[in-house]
């Protein structure tokens, strides 16, 4: 892969993460700029310290904005923004495997 292809792939991933950060901040009315949240930051418990109600709100938001339904059993996807991005946009994971 060339340096430009790597750069483009990184930009695609970062764009997906940025979109998720904006959704989190807007939906949960957080008083921080979206890009204060890092891609690897934990979301549930430590880190952003979201609680169960926040997660429920995000389930609704994710389905509305990305058309992806998540369930209680998939709490691991809230391990970080980057992990959530791979779940919501599986093509990112597929691209990484190439």
């Amino acid at each position: 892969m060339t340096i430009d292809e790597l750069r483009a792939r990184a930009a695609q991933r970062q764009q997906a993460c940025d979109q998720i950060k904006k959704m989190i901040v807007n939906r949960l009315d957080l008083e921080i700029e979206p890009n204060w949240i890092t891609d690897d930051q934990p979301l549930f418990g430590r880190g952003l310290e979201l609680d169960s109600l926040d997660i429920l709100e995000l389930y609704v938001a994710i389905e509305a904005e990305f058309g992806v339904a998540l369930y209680d059993s998939e709490m691991a996807v809230f391990g970080s923004v980057s992990r959530l991005a791979e779940t919501i946009r599986p093509e990112l994971r597929a691209a990484a495997a190439v």
């Binding site: 892969m1 060339t2 340096i3 292809e5 790597l6 750069r7 792939r9 990184a10 930009a11 991933r13 970062q14 993460c17 008083e31 921080i32 204060w36 949240i37 890092t38 891609d39 690897d40 930051q41 934990p42 418990g45 430590r46 880190g47 952003l48 709490m75 691991a76 391990g79 970080s80 980057s82 992990r83 791979e86 990112l92 994971r93 691209a95 990484a96």
Partner: protein, 354 residues
């Protein structure tokens, strides 16, 4: 300074220096100890963590100024993690802040107690009481998907299901202890602050229920879930934006030491970012160059052999435009892939406390 529990540990224990303290690195093998952390329950000798009490009329104001997170309403029933920064925004330490009736305990990272104490004393404009309690109090930890069961058998089953970062003053064996649900590995984690004269007995009784794990296995497990290991990560003048430790800073808090520098870094030109990578047989040294399609884009922060992944796991600091998971880079002579955090999924996330 040796572990106050050194005499309680078996002869074959391997000790090593971590900053200013000597701690157990391993009791058996990292593999066995790691397995206890990730699959059962591990007992941790955390006596290398400094414990500094701040108290007095101005304790909360002082804490608000020296801590990067907001502790104004931290009660004696809560604890939380925070960074301590200097004026230039550099990390002095990462601490666990324990709310106390008349102030707080600041628990340093391993071996960093003396450095933290010096920093706090230097900034004590409020004239609060700052006392190093590390000699008289000792911290033991329990971590693992079944650590809650150990708590139930050892102290009280109700403590096991405390909410994350809850703290209770309780007794064990007639001894007053401070008990908190907190940890470093994303498994069920608990800490017990016990008078040092009783620490060896609590360690002995805990050993009947849990497997001792040393600092080597603990640090591997921490990296696997992107829990900062400050002595490895806060190096080379890195700021918290480059290091990705934003979550340990409440930037909405109006004032704290280092805030201006953090904001300047956040609003300044985009530099480097830190991300995880995996792959390869050998463990690269810090500073090993990271190449993308042959172009030098950064360096290794530190790396370990991840027992959970079965391969090398490390952190790299690279040009921000390449800071994304799912990319193939070259580190030393190995091809690696950048990863999504957490790099393993803790078993505790799928095991309920019964």
């Amino acid at each position: 300074m040796d572990s106050v529990l050194a005499n309680a540990h078996p002869e074959e224990t391997v000790f090593g220096e971590v900053l200013d303290v000597t701690v157990p690195l391993r009791f058996s093998t990292p593999a066995e100890e790691y397995k206890a952390i990730r699959e059962r329950a591990a007992l941790l000798d955390l006596s290398g963590l400094g414990l500094i009490e701040i108290s007095g009329d101005g304790a909360v104001d002082f804490a608000q100024r020296v801590l990067a997170r907001d502790v104004e309403y931290l009660t004696s029933e809560r604890c939380m993690m925070s960074l301590v920064l200097d004026e230039s925004g550099q990390i002095v330490d990462q601490v666990v802040v324990w709310g106390r009736e008349n102030g707080m305990f600041l628990e340093s990272s391993c071996g960093a107690g003396p450095r933290l104490l010096e920093h706090l004393q230097k900034h004590n404009d409020e004239g609060v009481d700052i006392v190093d309690r590390s000699g008289e109090l000792t911290i033991l930890g329990l971590e693992g998907p079944y650590a809650w069961g150990v708590v139930g058998r050892l102290i009280d089953g109700e403590l096991a299901s405390l909410p994350f970062e809850a703290v209770v003053d309780t007794t064990w064996n007639g001894v007053d202890i401070v008990f908190g649900r907190t940890g470093f590995t994303s498994e069920y984690g608990y800490q017990m602050i016990v008078p040092t004269e009783s620490a060896a007995e609590l360690w002995r009784q805990s050993l009947e229920q849990a497997v001792p794990a040393g600092n080597e296995a603990l640090e591997i497990a921490m990296l696997e879930v992107r829990q900062p290991v400050i002595r490895h990560e806060a190096t080379g003048g890195v700021d918290i934006i480059e290091g990705g430790a934003n979550w340990l800073v409440d930037i909405t808090k109006e004032s704290f030491i280092g805030r201006e520098a953090v904001l300047e870094a956040f609003n300044g030109p985009t530099g480097r970012r830190t991300l995880g990578f995996g792959g390869g047989e050998s463990v690269p040294e810090p500073g090993t160059r990271v190449l993308a399609a042959g172009q030098d884009i950064g360096e290794v922060v530190y790396a370990v052999h991840s027992l959970g992944l079965g391969t090398t796991l490390g952190l790299a600091r690279v040009d921000a435009e390449f800071a994304a998971a799912g990319l193939r880079f070259t580190v030393g002579d190995a091809e690696v892939t950048t990863l999504t955090s957490p790099y393993i999924t803790p078993k505790s996330w799928s095991i309920p406390i019964i």
